[in-house]
Every structure is written in C-alpha cells, then in structure tokens.
Subunit: 428 residues, 2 copies
C-alpha cells in the first residue's frame, strides 16, 4: 500500500502577450498560464501524477490556491484505494459540501478539482504503463459508468442508457484501436487566425496550414465586421474552396448581433460559428442556432459542467460540442459529456491550444472514438502550435492529424526545466 | 482627491456546525464563514468600505485569495472617479479578460468582484451619509441603467426597456420611501426548519415564529421523504392553516424526483418549493415548474450571474426569484436582476441568512420597492436569526418585518472585535 505524501503546486506563466499569440475579440493580450499540480506518493515506483488548469494570466495564483486547498482531502490517502474507485474519488471531491458552495460545480474550485482528478488519472495510467486513452478504452462499460456522476443528468441520460451506448460500441473496440494507432486522429488548426496578426501573416499561415495537411482552419472574429470580411476573404483566397474555415467570436455578441454578423459572413462558407455569445446562455445559443442554420454553432470550452452540456444538447443549442480538458472537473466529467454527446448524436471536436490542452484532450477524443461514439466522422481536435516543447510527451501532429500517443500517462506532465524557468515566485 | 491605499482581507469563520444551525439536505455541517474585505483610502474622512463573500467553511481561504487578487486593480486608484462611475468600475473588474477566464462571470472570481463592488458601494453610501437603499433610490433612471451591463441581456431586456421600467416607477418614489421607513419590509423565517433539529425543537421554533409575527416559515426537505412528511405535518399543526410554509430542497433532486417528491408533500399547502435541482438547470426547472404547478418554484441563491436569471425568466423556470447579496458580482448585477424580474413580472424574495446576508440584501429589496417594482406585494426577505451580533449595523426584525435601516452604508461592516475573534490565522 502507498500513500499520497503531498501536492506540489506551481504558478506557471508564459509571456505570450508579447507576440499576440492567442489574441481574440474578448482576450486581447493573454499570458498563457497553468496552475500546475504534482501528486507525490511514497510508492517505490517513484511515479508522480500531473495535472493543471489552463488560465490566461492574472488570477493564476487564485487557481493555484484552490488546488492547494485540496491537499487536506488527498494528502495521506491510500493511493490504491483512490485509483481503484475513481468515480468515488471524484464524488468525494465534487460533493464536499463546503467546497461545493464556492461554485457550485463551476469556476475556480471546480477546475481545481479537475486538475487533481486528472493528476490521479495520470498516475493511474503511468502505473499501468498505458496512455490514458487506452487505459479508459480497456475498461468495461460497467466500470466506465461508475466513473460518471448521473446526478442532474437523469432527465436526459440515465445510467442504463449510458451502459447501452458503451455496450453498443464494445464489439469494434479492437479494430478501432488498431486504426487509431495506425492513422491517428484528424486535427484542425487555429494557428493562422489570431486577431492580433496582420494580413500578411494571416495569409502566410493559412497557406502553411494547407501545406501541412490541415483540411480545416479557424479564424477569430467579432471585433470589427469590416475586418472580419477582409480577413475571411484573404483566408478563403489563401486556402481555396476545398478547405473548411470555422470562425470563433469568443462570446463577443448578443443574440441578435450574432445572427446579423454571421449572416454577413455566411458567403465565405463557414464550417461552424464558435462561441457566439455567453457560454451560459442555453436559450440564446438555441435562438442563434435557429437563426443561422444550417451553419452549425460550436461551443463548450467555457461551459462550466455537465449540467450545462446536457441543456445545450436538449435545446439543440449547439451542433458541434467542444469540451475542454481543464474547464470541467477532469476526466470523469468529460466522460459524462462524451456520453451525453453520443446520446444526442452530436460530434465532439475538443477545444485545445493554450498550455497543454492538446496534450491532455487528445486522450479524451481518442477514447471516445474507440469506446463511446465509435467514429471519427465529422470530428477534429483543435491544434495550436504553441508551448508543446514544455511537455514531457508533447503532441505530435503531422499531415493534419494527431499521432496517437503511446507513452504511459495523461500527457499532462511538464518538463522540470520549464517549470523551473516559468514558475512565478519560485526560487532557484 | 483621495486614493485607495489598500485592501485588507480576513478569513472569518464561525463554528456553526457544532449546533447544526444551517444544516440541510446538501449541506450537513456548514461552518458559516465570510471572505471579508475592507477598502482603505487616504481621505481625511477616515471612512472605509466593507464587503464580503459568504461561504460555508472549507475554501474560504481560496475566496480570500481571489479578493486579494483584485488589489492590483484597486490600490492607488482615484476614489472619487471610481465612485462617480460605478457602472464603469464594475465593468473594469468583470471585463478584465484574464480574470474573466476563471469563470467566466461565475464562481470564486466573480464573487470576489462582488465583494469589492459592494465595499465600494458601502464607502459611497457612507460618504453621502445615506443607507445604500436610499442612495440608489435617489438616483435617476439614467444613472441607474448606467450601472447595469446589458451585455448578453438584450434579447430579454434592453437599456431602453429598463429605462421605461424605472421611469414608470418614478412618480411614487417619495410615498413608497415614506411607507418603507414607517412600515419596514415583510420577512419570513427559516430559523425553525433546519434539517438537523429534532421534532421538539422544530415544533417549538414554529410556534415561536408565529408568536413573533411571521406569516411564512420555511422547512428544509429532501433527505428522506417520510421524515419530510412527518416534519411538515408537525409544522403545519404548530403554525395552523393561516401561515405559509415554504420548503427548500437545496438542489437535492433530479427532475423526476423533484416532481414526485413535491407531489407527495403538496397536501401540506406549500408556499413554494426552493432549489429543487441544480441551479444551472434552466430546462430542468422549467420542467419541474410545469410538473408541480400551481406550486411555485423558487430559486436564485446559487445562480451564477444575470445570464442565468435571464434564462430562468424567459423559460418560466422560476416563479419566485431569490437573488443573493454575495453570489453575483455585487450591487450592480443585482440591479440588473431586479430589472429583469420587473420586466417579467416575477416577485423577488431575496435569499438571506448565512453571515451578513440579511444585513446586505435588505438594501436591494428596499431599493426595488421604492424605485423598480414599486411593490412589496408577494415579496418577503428571508430572515435567519444567526450571527447578526457581529455587524456594526445589525438588522432589526420585529413583528415579522425588517425595520428599514437608516444608518449610512451598505450594512456590510463587521465589528472589529468579531473580526479579531473569528479571523483564522490572524495574530492578536
């Protein structure tokens, strides 16, 4: 038996605002950051579990403080017991009534729990010598539904319905796993489209994206309509008619604005419209979906929890579901969201970029393909070519696809040298 | 001109779990706490602004850290400029893109901004020598709408519609203010109904509530149906048929459970059913509202922001709106919520209790009566008789009514002696 000996946290910040990487209509100057966590144990294997919350700068210290607050729940605990019942472990954190009051199940405290849960999954995957996606994809339907908290979901998805979805996907698991390892998973790139880039850089990066094998790119929009029209025209000319172009407004609009603005951009053949308005606005997104159909609405990266995803699906308020690795409470809640998406037949195209989101979320999408939805059709993982060099197992993307990770773990471990260099307030 | 010289914060915790005060179906052992803030200036008047976030124990330190993170926005700022444009001040905090990422507009960071905004309102009210409710009620409709951020609201409430609501209420302001000072504002009491109290204590406190002049009490339910039936029967016998009894499930149920459970309790003549399920579940509450009509659904104390309130009103998912003084981003966002409620014709019965929530929220309800809805009809402020002795201007409740506060400020200042005694980790 081994015990958790402690959590070590770090306030990691990269000065990305200097280059306007990541600039959009709502976030003009992000400094990509991670509230980072390492879980240590007294086991002889020397393995550690790593997790983080992605933030864009100020407040990363608050996020670190929230992760620190979980030490009292985890330090001293029996590691094997925690890892053997990850559903119970998740509930013991999320259902703590006093911590729950700080959300409930949303914002800083919920994301902190996500970092801890993911760090435990990282540890569990390393202990079994498997990449997280394969560890999950080897679990039985019964074991998988035990990971999910169906509280507040039962009007849309019951445990039995989830079991049926997972059982229906069981027969083809082995073939899909082989295909995944052979072919990887499709990606799209947001690298060309940041709002702070000038036209020359935009066009050049669009051409490069096509040359690199991507079949979809994404542009940030929503600050100025005339600029958006000019940039979309440039991008469409640069990539040609065969490449899909999605646009992302990063919550800039109200409902009527969104419909009018997207209607003006529709001639450029939009793959989807992302985050048109507040991520809390189920009814607003439903109205926008009706107003801009057949252009799909994509959202999810800022959606607080499974209850919000449930409603967006119930109301047909999104047609592309973009879960995020660190916004909800970790791997378990993302499995709940995958099951909801499968129930409603909506494709999951995860949000990524930031710090380590690509590394983390690829495991969720690949698990989905092998064991939940059973398809890659209409699904792509976002890719942004930033900051991968700071991770122990950086993503490998080529020919417009994520190569399937085979190293043990959840992909969430940063290099010690990067932690040392970019941790704020650390000595040494 | 004066400047903010600094924020002082305190992690204040009361050991209420020892008495099971505040126990309910989701929160068995709360330790009522406040993440407390004092804003100091270099003005000669020596006045300070006070605000806080109510929490129930663990994690209060995280909430304090979030308030501390606002020091960089406020320290050194021109006080007169901040207070003269409280709408702009609110936006400068809530729209900070990096802090916003931590919500957006929800959870720990959003509540921290609420504490800061309320502390500034407390300071402004003290500088004008007025209680907050009267300061607000003396502002013009134009000044009031300038306090509100209509982003994400315009599909339900525009600035012009809000102006029309406020202008329609202008003529009777003086008479209503006089009536308010003379008569106070109706209250209901939750004191009898905590889940941890035994039957004898429940019945005794019910009788006392009636003797004290309350016309409505509230009971916690949702842990065990047989217990709820027994307790409601006891309570109904103790208060008689003329007193309204509301029940509060504190988010315990899924949609179908809620409808079945409430149907079983309906014979006891329920005034409303509070928080039947997740506070994020607009569609779930709408289904419950349809399922238990004509019994009203009441919710709001855990609703993250104005976008959620907008949708609950659009979907007829609540029939009694329970805003909370410290859950959303302070006084400004609560004014937005009052305007939404007025637009949809729904009564506001604020959540209170906890630490200082009665002291703070009475100002919002009283301002609503004088200048927004123009009525007290069907409206009550929750009252719980706990912890008032720690405030400089504690509420005065008698004959089932809040006495109208006349002391300058927002009611949010705690006694220095209480802060010294209950601050965790403070020396001396």
């Amino acid at each position: 038996m081994s015990r958790i000996t402690g959590l070590s946290t770090a306030d990691v910040r990269f000065p990305t605002s200097l280059m306007l990487d990541g600039s959009d209509a709502m976030n003009p100057d992000p400094d990509y950051s991670a509230a980072y966590l390492r879980v240590d144990t007294d086991a002889d294997d020397g393995l550690t579990g790593h997790g983080f919350v992605f933030t864009i700068g100020r407040g990363n210290d608050v996020q670190v403080a929230a992760i620190d607050a979980l030490a009292q729940h985890l330090t001293g605990q029996d590691v094997e017991a925690l890892l053997a019942d990850m559903g119970g472990t998740w509930r013991s954190l999320v259902h703590d009534s006093q911590l729950r009051w700080l959300g409930p199940e949303k914002g800083v405290m919920h994301m902190a729990i996500g970092a801890a849960v993911t760090a435990l999954w990282d540890l569990k995957a390393k202990r079994t010598g498997q990449p997280l996606w394969r560890l999950l994809a080897a679990m039985s339907p019964e074991e998988l539904v035990d990971l999910v908290d169906f509280r507040y979901l039962s009007d849309a998805l019951t445990r039995d319905e989830a079991l049926a979805i997972l059982r229906a996907a069981e027969p083809g698991r082995a073939e899909r796993e082989a295909a995944l390892v052979r072919e990887g998973y499709p990606a799209y790139t947001t690298t060309p489209g940041w709002l702070g880039y000038d036209d020359e850089k935009l066009a050049r990066l669009c051409r490069e994206a096509v040359a690199e094998g991507f079949t979809q790119i994404k542009l940030k929009v929503g600050a100025d309509l005339a600029d958006d029209v000019r940039r979309l025209k440039l991008a469409r000319e640069a990539v040609g008619p065969g490449i899909r172009i999605a646009v992302d407004a990063n919550q800039r609009w109200d409902v009527a604005d969104a419909i009018a603005w997207v209607t003006a951009l529709a001639p450029f053949d939009l793959a989807w419209v992302e985050e048109p308005t507040s991520p809390d606005d189920v009814l607003g997104h439903a109205a926008i979906s009706r107003g801009i159909a057949p252009i799909p609405v994509a959202t999810g990266e800022h959606m607080a929890n499974r209850v919000m995803f449930k409603q967006f699906l119930q109301a047909d308020a999104l047609q592309v579901l973009q879960l995020d690795a660190t916004r909800v409470a970790g791997v378990n809640e993302n499995i709940a969201i995958l099951l909801l998406a499968a129930k409603f037949g909506v494709p999951v195209c995860p949000h990524a970029g930031g710090v380590g989101l690509c590394e983390a979320v690829q495991h969720i999408a690949m698990f989905d393909f092998v064991a939940v939805s059973g398809t890659r059709e209409g699904r792509l993982i976002e890719f942004v070519d930033h900051l991968h060099e700071h991770f122990v197992t950086p993503v490998e993307v080529g020919d417009g696809r994520y190569r399937t990770p085979l190293a043990p773990g959840a992909g969430t471990e940063m290099l010690a040298a990067s932690l040392a260099e970019y941790t704020v307030g650390a000595h040494g």
